[in-house]
């Protein structure tokens, strides 16, 4: 299998760090090792590198540099945003509104806050995965202190009506946080225009290094600290900074937002070709999520009569990296809460496949993935008792 083809179509899980980004990071591991909090020249250079990266992140989302705080990634940013604002505003109210399809970094943090005495409303979504703004309006009470709705979903790629949500929150004087981990680099974002008060981002989703992210906190927003210790990040987030990671994040976000439109248009065209082929040439297949308001690289489909983990194993055998919402791959026995929330029956959720295309994918990758996918689906259907029953039923009806 030395020369086996391999195709990576799991860009929503993570991306390869851009070689240019790696180059920019390297000096900050070796000769530029100064602790940014120290006084001498070597340290000041590290400090400057961090501030340059901060400006790049701020520019990318239309914020001010002093509104950007570096973290260890999307999960920390989400925890900080929710826990930090909830406790800071506790005297004002104890009600939080979120959606039923958030990433676990939000969902499990909300469950923790419920244990701490907060009350959380989980907004339902329609069959495309969008919340209804009417539901949001009617969920708001005098005690509502925070609304947290993700920008774009990591499983089905559905993009939320963020602008409308921001407008409603602004009118009501309620903080609006958005988990934009999947959106950065795919959708242009201006936190001013969208009335976003807090925004989480994570570098490894847009060709930057893992374990580094940021939280945008609009000036004036009251938020408690989450990581306690030294005075880094203007006394808001303690711990010696991950200088190479932060430099990498800055370089990556600058590059990905510079070429955003071109890149996402190219990926969308490629995605649509693969998606259309899957839907038209593999029978008993459905698209999960919104047809157009979805991340450019996202395909999420369900194949009837088969189970997703076994499909992933066959694709993996062919050198293809993909993902599924089937329980059987996740170590739990329940299928994805996102797929159930958009109304899929559990057995259809078990048969789901997520392919997320990225920058390096080509038409040739599409051809290969389509051919292998079709074979794999046919092979699993041939051994499925559900498919056998379907065929029998059909032959009786003709």
């Amino acid at each position: 299998m030395a020369n086996q083809k391999s195709v990576y179509m799991d860009h929503s899980a993570t991306t390869a760090t851009d070689p240019e980004v790696v180059q920019a990071m390297i000096p900050w591991f070796s000769n530029q090792y100064g602790n940014p909090s120290s006084l001498y020249k070597l340290a000041r250079e590290s400090k400057t590198a961090i501030e340059n990266a901060r400006s790049k992140v701020a520019t990318a989302i239309g914020a001010k540099p002093e509104e950007i705080f570096f973290t260890s990634g999307g999960t920390e940013s989400d925890n900080w945003a929710l826990i930090g604002t909830a406790f800071a505003l506790r005297k004002k109210g104890n009600h939080i509104i979120t959606s039923g399809i958030e990433h676990h970094a939000i969902q499990h943090t909300c469950e923790y806050l419920e244990k701490q005495g907060f009350s959380v409303t989980y907004l339902p979504v329609d069959e495309s995965g969008k919340i209804r703004t009417a539901d949001l309006k009617s969920a708001i009470t005098d005690g509502t202190i925070l609304v947290s709705v993700m920008f774009a979903n990591n499983e089905i790629g559905t993009i939320q009506p963020v602008k409308e949500i921001g407008k409603i929150c602004r009118e009501k004087g309620i903080l609006f946080h958005t988990d934009a981990v999947q959106a950065i680099g795919n959708i242009p974002i201006d936190v001013g225009d969208l009335n976003i008060d807090l925004l989480s981002l994570s570098s490894h989703k847009f060709y930057g290094p893992k374990g580094t992210g940021a939280l945008f906190i609009r000036k004036g927003v009251r938020i408690d600290n989450y990581i306690h210790g030294g005075g880094q990040e203007r006394r808001k987030r303690a711990g010696t900074e991950n200088v190479p990671g932060i430099v990498g994040l800055g370089t990556a976000i600058e590059k990905v937002t510079r070429n955003l439109e071109d890149n996402s248009n190219r990926i969308r065209v490629l995605r649509d070709r693969l998606l259309d082929r899957i839907l038209s040439e593999i029978p008993h297949t459905r698209l999960n999520g919104h047809r157009t308001d979805r991340l450019a690289g996202n395909i999420n489909v369900s194949f009837e009569f088969i189970e997703g983990e076994s499909l992933l194993l066959l694709l993996d055998h062919a050198g293809i990296a993909a993902s599924t919402g089937s329980a059987c791959s996740s170590g739990s026995l329940e299928p994805s809460h996102v797929l159930l929330a958009i109304g899929l029956r559990a057995e259809i959720a078990h048969g789901s496949l997520r392919l997320t295309l990225g920058r390096e994918n080509t038409e040739e990758d599409n051809e290969y993935v389509f051919a292998e996918l079709k074979k794999a689906v046919e092979r699993l259907r041939a051994m499925s008792p559900l498919y056998a029953d379907y065929l029998k039923k059909r032959s009786r009806h003709v």
């Binding site: 194993l313 089937s326 059987c328 026995l333 029956r345 559990a346 057995e347 051994m383 056998a388």
Partner: protein, 143 residues
């Protein structure tokens, strides 16, 4: 995550298919939980002369079905009845803890198929171990 043996039986399943005039058929599992196994038996003079399976499920479910059919082929019904889920898992060189229920499903599938045969022959069914499979009628999927 899976042993080489599991991957071998998943990639090259033994005895996959259907016996249209089977002497006994057993079906276990639930699509909601993500796995269904159907076992077909041909029996001559108390011996399992042929066995086939159809499975909807994960890699471990397919491999467990394949291995279980291998273990009972050519055996007497009494011998086949004694093939435990542990024996299936061991023959597969182990299953991840979360996947052990797949081997349980295989054992239960064999028991159902044998009892289907016995009932069709006018014999009383043997007593099946009660309810250690993951829930089917109550809509939950806990093991």
């Amino acid at each position: 995550m899976y042993s080489e043996k599991v991957m071998d039986h998943f990639m090259n399943p033994r005895n996959q298919g259907e016996i249209t005039d089977a002497d006994g058929v057993g079906e276990v599992g639930n699509p909601t939980c993500g796995d269904i196994m159907r076992i077909f038996l041909s029996v001559k003079e108390n011996i399992i002369t042929d066995v086939k399976f159809q499975t909807f499920g994960c890699g471990a479910a397919v491999a467990s079905s394949s291995m279980a059919t291998e273990l009972i082929k050519g055996k007497t019904l009494e011998e086949a009845w004694e093939v435990s889920n542990k024996a299936v898992a061991e023959a597969l060189e182990g299953l991840p803890p979360i996947k052990m229920h797949c081997s349980v499903l295989a054992e239960e599938g064999i028991h159902k198929a044998i009892n289907d045969y016995r009932i069709k022959q006018g014999l009383p069914p043997w007593e099946e171990k009660a309810g250690h499979h993951h829930g089917h009628d109550d809509g939950t999927c806990e093991t």
